[in-house]
């Protein structure tokens, strides 16, 4: 676990850039975007204790909320936890203060992507990008193509080879993608998509 940096507010926040309005703290920004009030958190740690993935995280979910409350933008947007979270909502359903923690994670991920910070778990964003490439092309997810593309990106060709072959043998991975007829309607939607070339 990394040592927390001293309390620091960035001078020009992306919120300021976008809206021209100063003064909104990171916590208020996250509250606005996620629609959930994370000021209610009193660090009971129910979320951290219940999260099935907490062992692979660098901060527990309650620590992530704390970083947000402290305004530690860079620290929280570049952490691993927000990428490891799959949105299973165990935390949200266990929180005694009804904070939808999973939707805070959603918001933080989007902010990390939009602000172009160093991604805490790059292989996961590689995977999401690969899925989006497939969606852009076919309108539906072509799993074999996604897995091959992901392997190309990460260079780990042998990892999981046995499982892949087993799935092929069971015909669970279709060679030919299922696709949308009017695929132009789909590709048009990808104009908004944040590009790595940027």
């Amino acid at each position: 676990m990394s040592i927390a940096q001293p309390l620091r507010h960035d001078v020009v926040t992306p919120y300021l850039e976008k809206t021209g309005k100063p003064g909104l703290s990171l916590a208020a920004e996250v509250k606005e975007q996620s629609g959930t009030d994370l000021f209610r958190c009193y660090q009971c740690r129910s979320c951290g204790n219940g999260c099935p993935f907490v062992q692979a995280m660098d901060y527990t979910p309650n620590q992530v909320l704390r970083l947000v409350q402290f305004g530690m933008r860079r620290e929280v947007l570049s952490c691993k936890t927000i990428w490891i979270c799959v949105g299973c909502h165990t935390c949200s359903s266990q929180c005694p203060m009804s904070i939808d923690i999973a939707s805070v994670m959603d918001t933080l991920r989007l902010m990390a992507v939009e602000e172009g910070v160093a991604i805490g778990k790059p292989n996961i964003i590689d995977f999401h990008e690969e899925v989006l490439r497939s969606l852009e092309k076919y309108g539906r997810a072509h799993k074999l193509g996604i897995m091959l593309g992901y392997k190309r990106q990460t260079g780990r060709w042998l990892k999981d080879l046995d499982v892949g072959l087993k799935m092929l043998a069971k015909r669970k991975l279709d060679l030919i993608p299922s696709r949308v007829r009017d695929v132009k309607e789909i590709t048009e939607l990808f104009q908004c998509y944040w590009r790595e070339s940027a």
């Binding site: 996961i124 969606l135 789909i186 939607l189």
Partner: protein
């Protein structure tokens, strides 16, 4: 069956049921046909957006789900089997209700109206609402003696936005219980299967799946029954322990009980052979 009125629904298969989990799709179609539920596949549907679009771009995620809503004819409910698809379709509908301008912009782009009062429901909800007496009338094989863990996965009733509507907990037990199967309560029914981490970081997911399977084995369950195709795949694919417990799609068990004959074709697509459980059932009958 003939004396029962046919009910029409639009049906959204989603990427998993159209491909990797084709056996879930086929068995559900069989079950629906037997029950007189007419599932009409949504014309030219696209991916609901999935976690990946949700992660990378809010507008994209909304628009992908919204396109499906724009394709759904008004006047009949839209049914999904995949809990994640259901979640994203419903979330998009909520959003389009609140953001009129966004909706109008999309309607203009596609030159189609988007009905925001379209009912979006899970297949299990269809059964609970219209199917329970039809189930009793059409049951052909008894599930008596089958001890299963009802495995709902994370999405069907946990996200706060969905929980406000239909609460599914116990629904699987109602349906399969009516057909004679026995739910095993003391296993990890609600633990997350690992979702996409199974593809990106199997070393995180494998021990979690082992724990789920071990809990089912300790409870002496014959199998797990899932409501979600991704759970089904992850629980089979990431189980490296010696205890090989088969994982069924909910629709497979349903169709089996309703007398569907082509189950061999579904079961050969499983990574863990489920046929011993079926043989045990037919011996008991």
């Amino acid at each position: 069956m003939n004396d029962v009125r046919q009910l029409d629904f639009s049906y959204f298969p989603g990427c998993s049921l159209a491909t990797t989990a084709a056996e879930s799709n086929r068995s559900m179609m069989q079950a629906a046909r037997i029950l007189g539920l007419n599932l009409i596949e949504l014309e030219d549907w696209n991916c609901c957006g999935s976690s990946s679009a949700q992660t990378m771009c809010k507008n994209l995620s909304l628009a992908m789900a919204a396109r499906n809503l724009s394709l759904a004819p008004a006047g009949r409910p839209l049914v999904a089997m995949c809990p994640r698809c259901l979640h994203y379709l419903r979330s998009a509908q909520e959003c389009l209700k609140a953001e009129v301008e966004t909706r109008e912009a999309l309607e203009e782009k596609w030159r189609r109206p988007i009905t925001t009062d379209l009912e979006i429901i899970h297949f299990m909800e269809v059964l609970a609402r219209y199917g329970l007496d039809r189930l009793q009338a059409n049951a052909r094989r008894s599930l008596k003696g089958m001890r299963y863990v009802p495995y709902y996965g994370c999405t069907l009733f946990r996200p706060p936005r969905l929980a406000k509507e239909k609460y599914f907990q116990g629904e699987m037990e109602n349906i399969l219980g009516a057909l004679g199967a026995e739910a095993v309560p003391d296993a990890l029914s609600y633990r997350c299967c690992g979702s996409f981490l199974s593809a990106t970081d199997p070393e995180i997911v494998t021990p979690l799946v082992q724990e789920i399977i071990a809990s089912a084995a300790a409870a002496k369950a014959d199998c797990l029954v899932t409501a979600c195709a991704m759970c089904q795949l992850n629980l089979e694919m990431r189980n490296t322990s010696k205890a090989k417990i088969p994982i069924f799609h909910f629709s497979e068990i349903l169709a089996l009980a309703l007398g569907a004959e082509d189950y061999e074709e579904w079961f050969i697509r499983h990574l863990v052979d489920p046929r011993p459980v079926i043989r045990k059932l037919s011996r008991a009958a």
